[in-house]
């Protein structure tokens, strides 16, 4: 500031007073509205807001959303009721109860020995860390990109197995039915089963009619 008195007269002397008075006239004129320039120009810019309920921005492909219990191509469940997901869960959100598959009584839900009879995830405990997905030995448990889970009571946010199971794809048979004949558990994981066989379809037809007639 000390050498400014020397510099300023030189500057004004070189450029001249008329220009200075003109710019000050314009700046005086627009000074009260100058700040609105930003606002005004913003009116012509693209809106950055995501119009959420109408147009949802897609999540990342591997977003950790609601869980899903997958099925084999013939409709048998992949979950073997091993409870490793429940053990891995840091928030104790998962409850699993296994049971034995039983071919004699027609209670076969998964290939192999055991299946998850009870499967519950408490979404008011779950922190979507996906440690359960890492723990799952059969890739039965994966995550979807669905995130709209808000509800008005706590009980409804405990999801049970029927809510978590993947929907039946075309060609799949709903769960209690025998394995593909001549195949063992290992073959399911090696991708040798590509869909239900006629024998399985026949079995399901017979037993569903049994249930209907029993009811």
């Amino acid at each position: 500031m000390a050498d400014n008195p020397n510099a300023k007269p030189r500057h004004s002397g070189a450029d001249g007073d008329p220009q200075k008075s003109e710019s000050s006239f314009l700046s005086d004129l627009f000074a009260p509205v100058a700040g609105f320039g930003v606002t005004f120009s913003t009116m012509f810019r693209k809106v950055a807001t995501e119009e959420y309920p109408e147009q949802k921005r897609p999540t990342q492909l591997r977003y950790h959303g609601r869980h899903q219990l997958n099925r084999h191509p013939d409709g048998l469940e992949k979950c073997v009721g091993c409870e490793l997901c429940a053990w891995a869960c840091p928030a104790d959100a998962i409850y699993v109860e296994g049971a034995d598959n039983d071919d004699e009584s027609g209670q076969r839900y998964s290939p192999g020995e055991r299946y998850g009879r009870v499967y519950q995830i408490n979404y008011l405990r779950c922190i979507f860390c996906a440690l359960c997905i890492e723990a799952c030995p059969t890739r039965a448990l994966t995550m979807t990109n669905e995130y709209e889970l808000a509800d008005n009571n706590r009980a409804d946010l405990i999801f049970t197995k029927d809510q978590l199971l993947a929907p039946i794809q075309s060609g799949m048979l709903p769960a209690p039915h025998p394995m593909v004949e001549g195949m063992e558990e290992r073959d399911y994981y090696q991708g040798k089963v590509t869909g239900p066989t006629p024998d399985q379809e026949k079995w399901v037809r017979e037993h569903s009619s049994d249930e209907e007639s029993a009811e």
């Binding site: 309920p53 104790d92 008011l124 405990r125 995130y147 709209e148 889970l149 808000a150 509800d151 706590r154």
Partner: protein, 184 residues
């Protein structure tokens, strides 16, 4: 609450209910109330990217006396519990509560002596929102759910009837300690 509570039932009241619900749901002001990491996502909802003002929440009220909605964002410690209750008590009727995130809803992964296992132990909660933390869209979704609730709020005689019906249903329901089975 006000004069709308004194109205007789019938056509007039149902119309007033609709109008009042419509007015109320688009003029909800949330209280500025963040407790932990969920508050960061709650602040994100206020940014132009998500723009909570689209839902009538023009600003986060800095005083509970001007707020209608309490978004409990974050874990509630035992020490914070009386404060949460006091802030809730200071809000004028009608008021609503969103329990944002798993910690506020049930204690989440903090199942220990320091954290209140669900803010509904202290204040009545209208919407539970899972997630750790919930993404901004999830909070907007919870707000839309709350709008539905507000729109369908009963007034006056209908409100009393609804409260009586809810009480009767609650008395008839099996108490949690007597529940046998998977959800016990």
């Amino acid at each position: 609450m006000g004069i709308e509570e004194k109205l007789p039932a019938g056509f007039l009241l149902s119309t007033v209910e609709n109008v009042a619900g419509y007015m109320r749901k688009y003029s909800v002001w949330p209280a500025t109330f963040g407790l932990a990491c969920c508050a960061i996502e709650m602040m994100a909802v206020g940014t132009p990217d998500y723009d909570i003002a689209r839902f009538g929440m023009e600003r986060f009220s800095a005083t509970p006396r001007q707020a209608d909605l309490m978004i409990v964002a974050g874990r509630v410690s035992q020490k914070m519990a009386p404060v949460v209750r006091q802030v809730y008590d200071q809000m004028p009727e009608p008021k609503w509560v969103i329990s944002m995130g798993v910690c506020a809803s049930s204690g989440g992964m903090f199942n220990n002596y320091a954290i209140v296992q669900g803010v509904d132990h202290i204040i009545p909660v209208d919407i539970y929102l899972p997630g750790c933390p919930p993404r901004p869209q999830m909070l907007l979704n919870a707000i839309l759910e709350l709008h539905d609730q507000i729109q369908n709020t009963k007034l006056g005689v209908n409100r009393q009837e609804a409260a009586r019906a809810a009480e009767a249903a609650a008395l008839k329901a099996t108490p949690t300690h007597a529940m046998k089975g998977l959800l016990a």
